[in-house]
Every structure is written in structure tokens, then in C-alpha cells.
């Protein structure tokens, strides 16, 4: 993966960052961009195809309406906001947790390291999707639980990657010097080790982000997601699948939205990785 793909070098960064900024603005400020309230139903206007007129007032629905006459574009934007927030929080929580564990394991080594890494191994032996399904089934669905489940499944990757970097950082002269001078462990870890792992953590966070979005969407799709009326992308694909041949837009559009976001994030992650290798 040294020289790779798609828009190269800087262009990759510009394209992906640009796309992410657009997605970010569109979803975070969903209330401003959404043409109507995503919850508001209009039973007179159910299943209107994209770019078609509403029945009564003659306005145009850009991306059509769903089976309760709710505006698909508005729901996509709000759904995106929710999906992104869920994954951002989950990535943040698992990132903090995983990185802390990784740093501690790598820094202290020995028994602590062995214990923590065995724990990681054990969790990794259950495919994360299965772990997530079982946890949601047990804890129940809902926003908080989904975030918890995603965070729990995600920490291991962070811990492993950070740990392996810490192992090499530990050998660095300035770290050894600090330790020799009797600087407390915590300070060494926070002052000298953590700042040097930022880049690794960020790259990993980008990759995890796309995993989390997909996992959360899959859970919603399996009916293990969030409250029914709340729009989420996975849930929208699921809701729309019974209309797949009469109203193609219901499932297709949110699926494409997921793909677009994942694509941008992956591109961004790729760019970060290129840069870290170039350093």
C-alpha cells in the first residue's frame, strides 16, 4: 500500500476532506437544509417518487416521500446527523478507552501487557457483529445502548495499534531519559508518549468510523436499532425494503448515502495513512 490509488497524494486529501466537510455541514445543520420536518406525515402524499409534485400544493419533492408521506430528503439529512453522531461518539469512547489501554499495556509491558492483550484477544475471538447483536438483544435497543455496544466492540483495534507504537516509542531516548530522571509514569505517558501517538490514533479513528457507521446501519437493518420513527440510514433501508420494487428510492437513497460517507472516510483514512508512511 505504498503507492496507491484514486486521486493521488494531496488531491486525495482535498477531495476527501472536501466531501467530509460537505457531509458534516449538511447533516449538522440538517434543520436548515431539510425542506420540511422529517417527522411530519402527510397521508395524502405517500410514496411520491423523487422530483415529483405533491398532490395538493403542487410543490416538488426532491427525493420523494415514504410510506407515511414523510420527506425522504429531510429524513436523510436528519438520519445522517444521527448516524454520524452515533459513530463519532462511539469512536471517541472506544478511542479513548482503547488508546489508554494500549498506552498502558505498551508502556508497562510484562504482566499488565499480557493481561490486557489476552483480554483483547478474547474479545477479538467473537466476531464484532455477533457481539453487537447479542449485546443489543440483551441490553435492548435505543440510542445509548447502541453507542455502548459500538464502543465496546471497537476498543480492541485502538488498543492494539497504539500499543505496538508505544512499544517502539518506549525505546526512544527522550522517553528513557525522562524515566531515568524519575518523572512519574503518568506524566511520561501523557507528556511524552501520547503526543507521538496522535497520528496513529487519528488514522485508526477514521478507519473505525466507517466500521461503526456500517455496523450501526446493519444493526438498524436487522431491526436492532433505534426507535422506529427516528430516521437512521440503516433503518430507512430496512423500512424501504418491502417497497423495493414499487418505491425504489426508499431503500436505494439511504444506501447510497451510507456508501458516499464511507467512501469519503475511507479515502480520508487512506490519505492519512499515506502521510504517516511518508513521515
Amino acid at each position: 500500500m505504498k503507492k496507491s490509488i484514486l486521486p493521488r497524494g494531496g488531491a486525495k486529501g482535498i477531495v476527501s476532506i472536501g466531501a467530509l466537510v460537505v457531509i458534516f455541514i449538511l447533516t449538522v445543520f440538517a434543520p436548515w437544509f431539510a425542506p420540511v420536518d422529517p417527522y411530519s406525515q402527510s397521508l395524502q402524499d405517500i410514496l411520491i417518487p423523487p422530483l415529483s409534485h405533491y398532490g395538493n400544493d403542487g410543490g416538488i419533492s426532491l427525493l420523494g416521500t415514504d410510506q407515511l408521506g414523510r420527506d425522504v430528503l429531510s429524513r436523510l439529512l436528519y438520519g445522517g446527523r444521527l448516524s454520524l453522531w452515533i459513530s463519532i461518539i462511539a469512536v471517541f469512547v472506544s478511542g479513548v478507552l482503547g488508546s489508554a489501554i494500549g498506552i498502558i499495556a505498551g508502556y508497562f509491558g510484562g504482566k499488565v501487557d499480557a493481561l490486557l492483550m489476552r483480554l483483547a484477544d478474547i474479545q477479538m475471538s467473537i466476531p464484532s457483529m455477533l457481539l453487537a447483536i447479542v449485546m443489543v438483544a440483551v441490553l435492548g435497543s435505543g440510542l445509548t445502548n447502541i453507542v455502548i455496544v459500538l464502543a465496546v466492540t471497537g476498543w480492541v483495534t485502538f488498543a492494539r495499534v497504539v500499543r505496538s507504537q508505544v512499544l517502539s516509542l518506549k525505546e526512544m531516548e527522550y522517553v528513557e531519559a525522562a524515566r531515568a530522571m524519575g518523572v512519574p509514569h503518568a506524566t511520561v505517558m501523557i507528556r511524552h508518549i501520547l503526543p507521538n501517538t496522535w497520528f496513529t490514533i487519528a488514522t485508526q479513528a477514521a478507519l473505525q468510523m466507517s466500521h461503526m457507521i456500517l455496523l450501526a446501519a446493519a444493526l438498524s437493518f436487522l431491526g436492532l436499532g433505534i426507535e422506529v420513527s427516528t430516521p437512521t440510514w440503516g433503518g430507512m433501508v430496512n423500512d424501504g425494503k418491502s417497497y423495493i420494487d414499487s418505491a425504489w428510492w426508499l431503500s436505494t437513497l439511504p444506501g447510497l448515502a451510507i456508501a458516499f460517507v464511507i467512501l469519503s472516510i475511507n479515502l480520508f483514512g487512506d490519505w492519512l495513512r499515506d502521510r504517516s508512511e511518508a513521515r
Binding site: 411530519s40 406525515q41 397521508l43 405517500i46 422506529v228 425494503k241 414499487s246
Partner: protein, 519 residues
């Protein structure tokens, strides 16, 4: 394929675990596929696509409907296509005294393993169900029975605890289907549920759990060998997939066609839609009438006025249900026509709420579950319509298995969606007792007068008296509004054009009645 997967398995050191089976090649490709044309051939072999697999095949211990086991077993009493009771394994029955019903049994019938069918078999079949120690899931369907006595080889007496006018109908449905005592004892209850034997028109062949059940015709069936020689009940959970499978000719009959798929079947060249009006559940929004604010009838009436049921039926359900205020289905005993109820009137709703002391409405959670047609959609529309009169509703879609525990335990929210039907006793008692009698696990309504009338109607054998009582109950319940009255669902089946079959009100699929269309 076989080779490859063997190779892979040995690679993963798992050959020992999964030796010898490769599912793809296990089943011949042609199984169950009957295109028009081949159907008329002698070996009629059909596949029925249902939403769920069975969980067991012992009719005495079912936890779901009896669509599959109905074909392996017989009941003493059967129903004809007009739902009239006709002789089954019993040739006649009569009430001997208040508490005793006498059944004369059919002679010369034997189980498919050769065991003879007789009074002992009937007694055995019931005893094991009504024995409290056996925890039979559907024991309540026959809980009025005290004991069964074998008078001679072909006569049984059913003794009830109180007078029970419904005994013949009770002997029309599970768990009263007759099992062979010797075999059942020999293999035990669990084994029997895996490999059932009955007197019915079909014999059990195989059960691939979670996937399909295969039955073959019983050539020696007492009522004549059926035309369909082999039937596969396949579970296809996704409604739209089920319909696609029908249109692709992979299955011949599908159950539970959802409203938006109806037109696909109607416009197809190889299948047709079979509609059974009001054969499904009567769906309503229940209130816990002892909890604020629903302890005030005015609030309950207000919410009834706030819901535009016609639009829901028309737009959300696309006409797949019939709006009704009746508690009892039109095919049930006790049905007294369509009573007047509450018409959509948001202004009146607001006024009643104000009178009850809630001029600004209130906030509440509505529990819903995916059991009924488009139920989560309906719940969301209800929430939206209640918002218009000031009541803020949070829709809580409860997972099916959780709902199954919450509701009978009374732990659901104060407002909840539930549907109920008389199933195949087709009697008002089954339609309403369990959901209106206080103290019943599915009831959240408390009305001493209604309770007394329900009890009286249950044990009276005077039909006129019962009809009168049910009408009184209905009038009172409508006025008191312990629920938001919604609609009764229709049932839709997709049927291959090569077969003669139509859905029934009692939801049974009697495969022995299916015949090929002569072309």
C-alpha cells in the same frame, strides 16, 4: 460444490464436526417447484411459504398456530368450508347433561404407525394436556374440561367443570388433536414433537429446523387419499421475499401477503390473490384503565375522537383491514352487526380533554409490536394525530419476544397496541373474554358489570341468552371506551394459478383439500 466444501472443511480441521453433509447438494433442485402444467401431473408436490417455522409438532404443546400439524392430526370435530361443524374422528356428539358431552367415535381408523384409533387414544390425548403438571401451553383452551372418560371403545364422555356450550368447537382445534398413546409414551414428549404420528391426511417426513417441514400424503387416510402427494412448509420471514418466491414459481402458496405486494400478485400471470375479509386480528389501542389519565372515561373517549381510523385504513393499510367498532368478528358467534362508535372529531376530542382537566394534553408512551399489518406505521400515525389534540406520544416499538412477556405480565406502557381474534373457536368468548375480563393476563380493563356478564355468557348454554349478553357487553364497552377502536385485519394469501385453494377464516391450511386445476 460438495468437493470444495469438503476441502475447505478439512482445511479448517472441522471435517469431524460437519462430516458428510453439504446442504446445497442435499436437496434436489426441483423440489417443490411446480410450474403450471406440471401441477396436473399425478405426483402433485407443493410448497407453502410461511413467515415462521414451527417450534414443535406436538399438537398438545404448540406455541403457535396449527397450520402445519393440522395436516398430520385429526380432531374429533371438523369444519366445512362454511365453517360449519361437521364430523371428524367423531361421527356424532350430543350433550348428555349439563356437564357431560358424549362423542361417538369413527371406527376402523388407525394411526399411520398402525396403532388403532379409539376412545383410549382420545382420553390419553386430552389427559396429558389438561394435567397441570405438563404445563401445556394451550391448556387454557380446554381448561373447562374436568376429565375425559372412555365409556367403550368408540364412546367418550367429556365432563366439564361448569356448563360449557363450546365443547364441540373446542374439539375442533388444538390441543385436542388425537395422538397415538403407545407411540407417544414410548418416545416421550420431546421426541414426539420432533417426529409426530397422527391419523391425519399427511405423514411427517422431515423437519429442517428454522427452514422447512416436509409431509407426504397418507395413502390410507380414512377420508380418502389426498391429491397433493407431498407438501413442504417453508419459512420465509421477509414478506416481500415470500411474494417474490411465489411469483418465481419457487413456492405455490404464501401466507401473510403485505398490502403493497397485493398488486404484484394480482398482476402476475402465474398466481392469484386470495383474500379473506376480516379473518385476522381485531387491532386496538388498549388503555390501562386504572392508571391516570386513562382512569377517566372522558380521556379515553377523547382519544377515540382524535383518531382518523378511516384514513389510517385507507392510506396506511391500503385497505387491508376493515374499520370496526365491533368487539366480535362477523364470523363469530355473538356478532351483532356493526355498532356506532366514535367518529373523527379533533375539536370534540380537545373539548373532552379540557373537561377531564387536560386542556393542554399530556405526554404518554405508546407500545407497539410488529405482529400486525404495518403496525409501526400505524402507531406513528396515531402519534401524529394525537399530537394534533395536544397529546404527545412517544412510540416505543417493542421487540416481538419482549412484548410477548411484557403484555401478559401487565408491564407494557399505559397505552399499547394489541390485536385479538377468536382463532378457530369462532365464538365471542374467545374473542373478548381474555382481553376484557378483569384479572385476565391480557386485560387492562376493570368493570364489574362487564365481568359478571362475561362470566355468565361463558357458562350459559342458551344461545339467545348468550347473544343478548354479548350485545349488552359490547354496548357498554363502546360507551366506556377502554380502548381506541381501530379495525379488523383482512388476510391475504398468494396462490399459484395451478392450484385450487382459498384462504379460510379459521386460518387453517388443509392441504388435503388442495387440488390441481385441470387445464
Amino acid at each position: 460444490m460438495l468437493k470444495k466444501s469438503r476441502f475447505f472443511m478439512s482445511l479448517t480441521l472441522l471435517a469431524a464436526l460437519t462430516a458428510g453433509c453439504s446442504t446445497v447438494s442435499k436437496e434436489p433442485a426441483a423440489t417443490g417447484e411446480s410450474t403450471p402444467g406440471t401441477a396436473a401431473e399425478q405426483n402433485l408436490d407443493i410448497t407453502i411459504g410461511r413467515a415462521f417455522d414451527v417450534s414443535g409438532l406436538d399438537p398438545g404443546f404448540l406455541t403457535e398456530n396449527a397450520q402445519v400439524v393440522d395436516n398430520i392430526f385429526d380432531t374429533l370435530v371438523k369444519r366445512d368450508e362454511n365453517e360449519k361443524l361437521i364430523p371428524g374422528l367423531a361421527t356424532s356428539w350430543k350433550q348428555v347433561d349439563d356437564l357431560t358431552w358424549e362423542f361417538k367415535l369413527r371406527e376402523g381408523v388407525s394411526f399411520t404407525n398402525g396403532e388403532p384409533f379409539n376412545a383410549e387414544a382420545v382420553k390419553y390425548s386430552l389427559d396429558r394436556v389438561i394435567d397441570p403438571a405438563s404445563n401445556a401451553p394451550t391448556a387454557s383452551y380446554v381448561s373447562t374440561i374436568d376429565k375425559v372418560e372412555a365409556i367403550d371403545d368408540y364412546t367418550v364422555h367429556v365432563i366439564t367443570k361448569k356448563p360449557d356450550p363450546l365443547i364441540p368447537t373446542r374439539f375442533n382445534r388444538y390441543p385436542t388433536e388425537v395422538v397415538p398413546p403407545k407411540y407417544a409414551e414410548e418416545v416421550g414428549q420431546e421426541e414426539f414433537a420432533q417426529k409426530p404420528i397422527g391419523t391425519g391426511p399427511y405423514k411427517f417426513v422431515s423437519w429442517d429446523k428454522g427452514s422447512n417441514v416436509v409431509l407426504e400424503a397418507n395413502a390410507d387416510y380414512w377420508n380418502g387419499a389426498p391429491e397433493v402427494k407431498k407438501v413442504t412448509f417453508r419459512s420465509i420471514p421477509e414478506a416481500s421475499t415470500r411474494v417474490s418466491a411465489l411469483l418465481n414459481g419457487e413456492v405455490d402458496i404464501v401466507t401473510g401477503v403485505s398490502p403493497e405486494d397485493r398488486s404484484k400478485i394480482e398482476s402476475s400471470s402465474n398466481a392469484r390473490l386470495s383474500t379473506v375479509e376480516r379473518a385476522g386480528n381485531t387491532v386496538y389501542v388498549g388503555f390501562k384503565t386504572d392508571v391516570k389519565p386513562f382512569n377517566d372515561p372522558k380521556v379515553r373517549q377523547a382519544l377515540n375522537y382524535a383518531i382518523d381510523v378511516d384514513t389510517i385504513v385507507d392510506k396506511v393499510l391500503q385497505g387491508a383491514a376493515v374499520r370496526t367498532n365491533s368487539l366480535i368478528g362477523p364470523k363469530d358467534f355473538g356478532y351483532a352487526g356493526e355498532p356506532e362508535g366514535y367518529n373523527y372529531d379533533p375539536e370534540k376530542a380537545k373539548q373532552l380533554l379540557a373537561e377531564a382537566g387536560y386542556p393542554d394534553g399530556f405526554s404518554i408512551t405508546l407500545d407497539t409490536v410488529s405482529w400486525y399489518i404495518k403496525n409501526t406505521d400505524v402507531a406513528q400515525v396515531i402519534a401524529e394525530q394525537l399530537k394534533a389534540v395536544g397529546v404527545t406520544v412517544k412510540v416505543n416499538n417493542v421487540e416481538s419476544s419482549v412484548y410477548r412477556t411484557l403484555v401478559p405480565a401487565g408491564k407494557q406502557s399505559d397505552m399499547y397496541v394489541l390485536g385479538w381474534s377468536s382463532t378457530n373457536t369462532l365464538d365471542a368468548d374467545a374473542a373478548i373474554y381474555a382481553i376484557l375480563r378483569s384479572g385476565e393476563s391480557y386485560s387492562t380493563y376493570h368493570n364489574a358489570d362487564v365481568d359478571a356478564k362475561l362470566d355468565e355468557a361463558r357458562s350459559s348454554t342458551d344461545e339467545n341468552k348468550r347473544t343478548e349478553l354479548y350485545k349488552e357487553i359490547q354496548d357498554e364497552v363502546i360507551k366506556d371506551a377502554p380502548r381506541i377502536f381501530l379495525y379488523q385485519e383482512n388476510q391475504y394469501y398468494g396462490v399459484s394459478d395451478s392450484l385450487n385453494w382459498d384462504g379460510r377464516v379459521d386460518t387453517s391450511i388443509q392441504v388435503s383439500t388442495i387440488t390441481a386445476k385441470t387445464q
